[in-house]
Point group: C2
Chain length 223, copies 2
Amino acid sequence: MTHPVFAVTVDLVVLTVRDGELHALLVRRGIEPQLGEWALPGGFVHADEDLPAAARRELAEETGLDAPGGHLEQLASYGAPERDPRGRVVTVAYLALLPDLPVPVAGTDASAAEWAPAGRRGLAFDHDRILADGVERARSKLEYTPLATAFCPPEFTIATLRGVYEAVWGTRIDPRNFHRKVTGATGFVEPTETLTDGDPGRPARLFHRGTATHLNPPILRPH
Amino acid sequence: MTHPVFAVTVDLVVLTVRDGELHALLVRRGIEPQLGEWALPGGFVHADEDLPAAARRELAEETGLDAPGGHLEQLASYGAPERDPRGRVVTVAYLALLPDLPVPVAGTDASAAEWAPAGRRGLAFDHDRILADGVERARSKLEYTPLATAFCPPEFTIATLRGVYEAVWGTRIDPRNFHRKVTGATGFVEPTETLTDGDPGRPARLFHRGTATHLNPPILRPH
DNA sequence: CCTTTTCTCGTCATCTTGACGATAAACCGC
DNA sequence: GCGGTTTATCGTCAAGATGACGAGAAAAGG
């Protein structure tokens, strides 16, 4: 039996929190098609490469670093027949959650790269949809997993963690109740011995991430 | 630029509840490779076909019916270089949740089809892993969505719904607390006017599914 | 020194949860 | 027909979780 021929790409939804708002990494396309349009970073899977390896490679190429303490997971695949003018291209999208990083550098196939607000639309191909799916996945995962810590540096305050929730969800959260829930959930965060210094207000204790993979009880967003 | 060539398949994790246990639909492969091995139903995506359409087509071919009242969603994609001896094959797995159906018929590329307990292992390719991922997705989704109703006929009792949760989670649930939670969650189930008749015990009210897409509050499995 | 800011702990009414008692309303075997 | 069994449904109660908010602690800034 014969079967149709496809190309396979990986595309990345790379999210971070900057200035209290959720941002996504975008690149300006430096090659055809859609040359000059903003798009998600990504590229073709190599001949002998596994999908997660391709995602990590593209992430390293586009951001200049792999995700140390960050998080990378498969998001979904998109393969509508007309989604790419070059022919049948199926893309496997990955979602990366990273702490705030220095300004990204343009990669091989990109003429520019920048952090854009996660609500940004008008991207090439079906990337609007992929970005929206990634943001929704992140919003949902913050409820049931401790992945909010992937947006934070290795040591962080409860206020920083709360800022992540507020940025991703676009809501305000009561600092006192949030502090109680987070420190009460087993394995979410572990206190260190050190306190912040130099910031306005009372010094805050620094925490690092705990060992839990699921939050119990969950931290549900208001609706 | 040139890029490697792939074949793309869809594979289906089709789950149902039979005799109080979670079952998966398996087919015995009628073509090479892995001829004679048990595997997940699936096949190549056609030249002009979208991914969800390919999943629905394969489901219809293998089970003889599309999912009326059932549920079909994308699960994940798998593309390790050595996963298929024919070459680079990326498969997009879909998860289907169906009410208990008559015995399936063997499809085009299968010499037999059967419902096997969802814990079954020893499948062809990497289908053990895909099946395990599908079961875990189903277990998790029952916590936060009303998808348990996808396993039920259009009208069902609370006990039937509880049986779904017990089968998928492999736990026992207190009937009184479950009844309270389910009827209390907004939009999960809507009561009808009719009662069951003929079964042992007191007649039970029949319900149909509500309009909610998320459960609030969630129904968390014990751990 | 006083004000402002932020962190952290407490309080309290309300809601949810889990364990379980009790009654209702059918069946089954005799 | 008649207890015994089975299942559905409602109610109770203590423990835990939630949301709204008070208040002190500990820093910076004028």
